[in-house]
């Protein structure tokens, strides 16, 4: 089965090369980087390590970039699509375990969970915000998950074709869960380790942003 890794990157010139080198070293050759209108040399750095680099002329947000990457992978004939962060938070070692249930046909979507693994050193405030997201997701969508805003996921081709990401920014994480529920896709959480480094914390979502995302998620749900 042909697995594609989709990476949405925005101003990640410092980390993207290492992420791609690591993936390549582990044998993941089908990797597409979507440079989401970066103002730095993300595209140039990425092109040194993969021939699959597409660039948004202007910044449209992570949700939009992932959708572009997923479309690219589907066009290339992907059977499984993994979404992977550009800031080095995700570990390539976790990919085989993440895609295993999709490969075996057990589920349509595998969702990474940092709370099922003991290796993630989640900062306290972040943990509170993430657990708030878990609670809201349970109330709004009825999905019982332990980690709802983890960008490390694996989709079968069928799931990737069915899930329609319309939210351009960070709300796409909640939208994907809503789509899983609405399209009646089977899913499973898989333990993954998230590496919190000074760099990834600077580049990732701030706690305030998490609250804004939560607020928008509720609005989005109420508007439907």
């Amino acid at each position: 089965m042909h697995t594609w890794i989709v990476i949405a990157a925005y101003n990640e010139e410092k980390s993207i090369a290492n992420v791609l080198k690591d993936l390549s070293a582990k044998g993941w050759k089908s990797v597409v980087v979507v440079d989401d209108g970066s103002r730095d040399k993300t595209s140039e750095m990425a092109k040194k390590h993969t021939k699959h680099v597409v660039r948004h002329l202007i910044n449209r947000g992570q949700g939009a970039a992932l959708k572009t990457g997923i479309q690219y992978a589907l066009n290339e004939g992907a059977d499984i699509i993994v979404t992977f962060d550009a800031d080095g938070q995700h570990r390539s070692e976790d990919i085989p375990a993440l895609i295993a249930p999709v490969q075996k046909g057990e589920v349509d979507v595998a969702l990474g969970s940092r709370f099922l693994s003991s290796g993630s050193n989640v900062p306290f405030i972040r943990k509170v915000a993430l657990k708030g997201g878990v609670l809201i997701t349970r109330i709004l969508y009825g999905l019982k998950l332990t980690d709802t805003h983890n960008g490390f996921r694996a989709f079968s081709r069928k799931a990737a074709e069915k899930i329609d990401i319309t939210m351009d920014r960070m709300e796409h994480a909640s939208e994907i869960l809503a789509e899983i529920k609405a399209k009646k896709l089977s899913y499973k959480e898989v333990p993954v380790t998230i590496r919190y480094t000074e760099y990834s914390l600077q580049h990732g979502q701030s706690t305030w942003n998490s609250i804004v995302i939560l607020y928008r998620t509720i609005l989005q749900r109420l508007a439907k």
Binding site: V34, G37, V54, R55, H56, L57, I58, R60, G61, A64, K67, T68, Q71, Y72, N75, T166, D168
Partner: protein
């Protein structure tokens, strides 16, 4: 003899409607939108010249003062405009994303 407020409203309406006509002739505004704005300004002009009519029409609403009724309608109108603008902005945002994606995938 026209009062200063009536003169001001007529001038404002004339300028705005001229602008709207110019946009329409350049096909930058739909006939429906032109009709909508003409209607709005027609109501405003009637209200300014014949406030008694508006006061009479609004009596069932329970407000005796024309200015109160104007305030309610102005607020409702502004909310409606905000709503329409947010819908349009949202639609335009999605179109920009779609275009950006098409361009990215074409290269």
């Amino acid at each position: 003899m026209m009062e200063p407020v009536q003169i001001a409203v007529v001038i404002a309406a004339a300028l705005l409607l001229l602008n709207i006509c110019a946009l329409w002739s350049r096909k930058k505004m739909s006939a429906r939108a032109v009709f909508f704005w003409f209607l709005i300004w027609a109501v405003i002009i009637v209200a300014v010249f014949y406030p008694a009519i508006i006061g009479f029409l609004m009596m069932p609403l329970g407000s005796g003062k024309v200015i109160d009724v104007f305030t309610y309608f102005a607020l409702a109108f502004l909310l409606f405009i905000c709503f329409r603008l947010s819908l349009k902005a949202n639609r335009a945002d999605h179109e920009v994303t779609r275009l950006t994606r098409e361009l990215a995938l074409k290269k």
